[in-house]
Symmetry: C2
């Protein structure tokens, strides 16, 4: 008897992995010389110096672009304040992805679609988007609010954000320099963030309790279970731009990953080159209780949990081992190390 | 007895106009020094030279950002090929907006949300997006495909695009230089484009005929009424970048507008300054029959039609009158002129 799987919740995770491959051909034929690198990274990179105006020396700079939504987390939102959190989630999903490339978030646009525009709700949602932008140093510069009766029920809404970031001069975040002895460090998540909610909703259905009631596990600072589940995605902009990528730590970060759909192994793994393995030490950070509650209530196996949720680490990095000092990485936990051999994957110890 | 209004279809157009104002406060507090101009234009402008890296002379250039969806047009799509057209629509809505600022489209990202990912359908949709990107010289660099059971029915989908454009050195498209005697020129639309579909669907309901049947008006090159209604939004990239903004016509274009929600008057009007009026001459271009069919079948008054649909002109510009020669503007119709007086609005003659 197997446990509950993510795909049991109606989301075909294998298909989701195939999709980018399936669509890559379409994207490839639109490729222009100013596009840097391949598809499938955390963000897309545009090199302005490769445009016509760039050739004339009139424009210069490398830009990063990301796009993301919050998935079915939005279906758990009820009150106006819940939507403020959803707004924060949408921004965080995009700007945290920009950070992985070392890009500074410059501007963000939002797409909101709903069956019936409810001004207060929309105000809370956009208020949350604006607050998260402010904290990220990023300007909310526009977007589209679409009233689409027929596609959405009056009270339903979906939100996606698009973010523009500016890359610094130093690259070197591609994971090429990783060597045995390097450390894996991680920043805690605020909870579920914005992935795996179709599975969460499936577990909640099975559980059948009241979301307005007490949280069925230890969780501080919230009044209801709904609030605990909806805790907004943490923004890592300040920690990463002012800490990890500061002058003090220049050149020490080899690779970073925003832990989203697919979990730690998938997200960190896609930047790893062959010949090394990132060994993640279980127990080296505190896994928030929401994850153990979901696992036990839903009968979800550890592997499925780890490939669906962030498990308490929302953002990770591989940093230089030679001169590693924990005090250089304030607020981060050391959660693993790099060892020789393997095909550039993540292993658990 | 009044005719059918857009708002009768469940879309609150007055509210839609209030929304940007309502949300402006939120956006204003996120403003950063690299944001140029105010909100409410066709695109948002980012000036890289105003960033920290710009201050050090490391980056340079002005970018334009747009975001848009296709509204409830997507609800009329049934076959895979219909979705290819929807993909083109989503791209056109974004890149045509970039053109208004004279920006060259560089990159585009798509957000697709659906209840159940159907690979073929998604392939057609993204294929349409990619083709429209190719024709626009724009690279499709990424996006998000979200499978969201519970928010969308299995077969339902929504799509939005986000486009990045690069502004040329010459600005002067702000409408400040407009003077009496200037001409208004326009490029034809392919049909409904991607606005007003909630009203279209309302009329179709009232009509009750078969969308798979013959087109109930003169329309060449299509087999069914559905196909006629779904004709993809025309892309104006080549005409505008290689014609209107070419070296030959340098400095002659004062203002441009992409005719979308709100119609010609709203979209052209928002760039006009006081002291002049754009007089649009009815009958100076051919109004496609789909519009007269909708007006008569839905009992929609002329004013409502003109403030909801493009009425056959998808892209317009105000050009210098002094040395105006029709042959400089190949493919465009002269549809009006600028006269002295008024508060910068559009009038009909």
């Amino acid at each position: 008897m197997g446990g509950l799987l993510y795909k049991d919740s109606g989301v075909d995770t294998e298909l989701a992995k195939r999709i980018p491959l399936h669509l890559r051909g379409h994207a490839e034929r639109t490729r222009r010389r100013w596009v840097e690198g391949g598809l499938g990274g955390f963000a897309s990179i545009i090199d302005l110096s490769k445009t016509d105006l760039g050739g004339k020396g009139l424009v210069r700079g490398r830009l990063a672009l990301t796009c993301d939504g919050v998935g079915t987390k939005v279906l758990l939102a009820r009150e106006d304040k819940d939507f403020a959190g959803i707004g924060r989630d949408a921004v965080a999903m995009c700007v945290n992805d920009l950070l992985v490339l070392g890009a500074e978030p410059l501007a963000l646009l939002d797409y909101v679609a709903t069956g019936k525009i409810e001004e207060d709700r929309l105000g809370f949602l956009v208020g949350g988007i604006a607050s998260a932008c402010e904290e990220s140093g990023c300007a909310l510069v526009g977007g589209e609010t679409a009233e689409m009766p027929g596609l959405y029920e009056a009270e339903e809404l979906d939100v996606a954000c698009f973010a523009l970031g500016l890359l610094g001069e130093d690259a070197g975040l591609g994971g090429e320099g990783i060597r045995p002895g390097d450390r894996v460090i991680g920043l805690g998540s605020s909870g579920l963030h914005s992935n795996g909610f179709s599975l969460v909703r499936r577990v909640l259905e099975k559980w059948g309790g009241d979301l307005e009631g007490e949280v069925p596990y230890e969780c501080e600072g919230v009044d209801t279970f709904r609030e605990a589940l909806l805790l907004p995605t943490r923004l890592y902009v300040r920690e990463v731009l002012e800490g990890w990528l500061s002058l003090k730590n220049r050149g020490k970060v080899r690779l970073m990953a925003h832990v989203t759909g697919g979990g730690l192994a998938d997200n960190l793994g896609r930047g790893l080159c062959g010949g090394v393995t990132c060994v993640i030490e279980r127990g080296s950070w505190k896994v928030p209780e929401v994850f153990s509650w979901l696992a036990s209530e839903g009968g979800i196996e550890a592997e499925e949990m780890a490939s669906t949720f962030n498990m308490g680490l929302g953002y990770v990095g591989v940093v230089r081992g030679e001169d590693f000092r924990e005090e250089d990485w304030e607020g981060a936990s050391v959660v693993g190390y790099v060892e020789e051999g393997g095909e550039g994957g993540v292993a658990w110890s």
